[in-house]
Symmetry: C2
Subunit: 371 residues, 2 copies
């Protein structure tokens, strides 16, 4: 965050900054979605909606699971939320009582911990590394489980690591969690941004899993603040009640716009963007490896590379700050993602086009005295 | 809520329902705001913004205080939020520690209690009645204060009572709260919808008050999910950090649309709507009094009348349910607003036009055997 503020300041002073720190697609919202939003405004879709969202959108989301994954989802279990942030707050709000723990991987998305705190719970982070592709496993979950543990949260693809959880690994974790009477929460907000490996959804594994998703990343709708979850049937009423109390409803124009997210036309745009992200990853990954950044496994999703930089520096925060100050290259130091050897890691986001990534790599090389 | 669901069900079965229960203006969003929203979408304003909102909007809101109230507000202290619900969550999140109490009036808006619970605090409701125009006073605050009390929250105009807090009363309450090292929170989300009495803002009383506001009610932007607060200077950083963690940012198209909320053109539309609300109140109030509903004071704001119905029924919930079932008249029973003699009260919302209110009055009269 400190680094982000500094990057903005330098830029406002006229410095050229190559942004490899931004967790937001550089693409604008696809035209058909924007057009649907404009149409919705013309038709005065500006009033409150039900707290769980408009029926048409809940049905469209359920239809998306059928089309894309051959997975049957009951629209009654689809809850539209103000961003996946809203979904996470609802999940933790209905699940976690004060003193109860939620297990999650470290490194991980820092706000996840915050949603557990907000509910009065304890986020318990489990260090993960290249041996498990920076993901939790059934074994790690079993070891970390205590009588206070209420839930386990996985993210696939993961921010910051870009790695996936395989179907088998998720099934094994689900077994362990179930046997302890816990709840599994799967964050799929980067779903669709996958460049290898099997694509599946946690919704196809069991119907007692909270599945979190978002229109922000794959669908390119960050500023619209719209996400969703699939909630276990017996939890829907509690989720609805909490949503009524704390959100009233998700943004109405955004909901109507999102109806255009699942059309053939939009899907074609999104798939071509996926290919662009893949090309960026394929460009950036080997270049960074040549420069001495280590990635044990090829990250297969999201738009992040999480690199071990310990052969280049002993202090990734200082490294990132100096790279920014000296060369105008903005990357994210490990400490934003947890306390599992953060000083040895940095995150690169490929949310900018290849010509800029080329320039970024050039600047890093110069910074390292390698050019 | 039960009643709302039943009203919807009856309507879907083809029954004619007169809605005097809806807490949302029946007017659509003013055209200039809708047009600004459409323009914003065309210009791709669809990405994340800073967590506290875009600078132009924070400045426009500050300008609104200058224009309307001659009150100087620093744009740096203006925080744009996902609805006033978002603002309330942030306020309680940064202020209230587990076990600390927030005082508020009963009857009051039920979600306010929930935001205190969410922060681990105790909402402590203080019964209020016609003697204090259903508002807290300095004396009531002093009596209810305990060592655990952290903050006091007032709403002016109030939901459900439509009554105001006078400047003098607010100043006195502020003195008491300050002398106890507490914090004052003023909910002004119905500001602008005032039909008598002095118009002022809590921001003009002191700069250590949290002032909550919304684009939903006066500005007619409910579904856009946009509100704001003015935070005391030393609390802004904490609010910003929490907003970054739990919301990321308020909806971007909504923020750009709201820039058109303060223009001369929009203000004219809003002022003519205010006159329509006033006319509705002036129609409905005496008709209800004739029928035996008692309102000790003339409610001067929002779009609600909170009536004592104890001369007509001993059970306002049963009364409201039977009125709905027998005559298709939907009103809100007191129990939605607290536990201060709820069985003796009902709320009427005049969010529907006079011809419908006329029909509503006719149905109530028939229900009471008075026609």
């Amino acid at each position: 965050m400190e680094l982000l503020a500094r990057a903005r300041q330098l830029e406002s002073e006229g410095r050229s900054i190559i942004h490899m720190e931004v967790g937001e697609p550089d693409f604008p919202t696809p035209d058909p979605i924007v057009e649907a939003g404009r149409q919705a405004l013309m038709e005065d879709h500006t009033h409150y909606t039900p707290a769980m969202g408009i029926t048409e959108l809940r049905e469209a989301i359920a239809g998306h699971y059928a089309t894309r994954f051959g997975c049957r989802v009951d629209p009654q279990q689809v809850v539209v939320t103000p961003g996946s942030s809203g979904a996470l707050q609802l999940v933790m709000g209905v699940l976690v009582n004060p003193g109860e723990a939620v297990l999650m991987a470290d490194p991980g998305y820092p706000c996840n911990r915050h949603f557990v705190y907000l509910a009065g719970g304890d986020p318990v982070t489990v260090p993960v590394g290249p041996a498990t592709q920076y993901q939790l496993t059934a074994e790690l979950v079993e070891k970390a489980w205590t009588p206070n543990t209420k839930a386990v949260m996985l993210a696939t693809p993961s921010n910051p690591t870009g790695t996936l959880v395989s179907r088998q690994a998720m099934e094994e974790i689900h077994e362990v969690v179930k046997s302890r009477n816990g709840v599994l929460i799967i964050d799929e907000i980067y779903q669709g941004l996958v460049y290898g490996g099997e694509e599946f959804t946690a919704a196809s594994i069991a119907d007692d899993i909270f599945v979190i998703n978002s229109f922000s990343k794959y669908f390119g709708m960050t500023g619209w603040r719209l996400g969703w979850m699939i909630a276990p049937r017996e939890m829907v009423a509690a989720v609805d009640k909490l949503a009524q109390n704390i959100f009233l409803s998700p943004p109405t124009p955004s909901q109507h716009a999102a109806l255009a997210a699942f059309t053939e036309e939009t899907q074609q745009i999104l798939e071509s963007r996926r290919e662009a992200f893949r090309a960026r990853r394929d460009f950036l990954l080997p270049k960074l490896q040549e420069l001495g950044f280590e990635m044990a496994t090829e990250p297969q999703g999201a738009f992040y590379l999480y690199a071990n930089c310990s052969s280049l520096t002993g202090d990734s925060f200082d490294f990132a700050m100096r790279l920014l100050e000296e060369e105008g290259g903005a990357i994210t130091p490990g400490k934003d993602f947890g306390s599992n050897r953060p000083e040895q890691h940095v995150r690169f986001a490929y949310t900018t086009d290849i010509s800029k990534l080329e320039e970024g790599v050039k600047r890093i090389a110069r910074f390292l005295g390698r050019s």
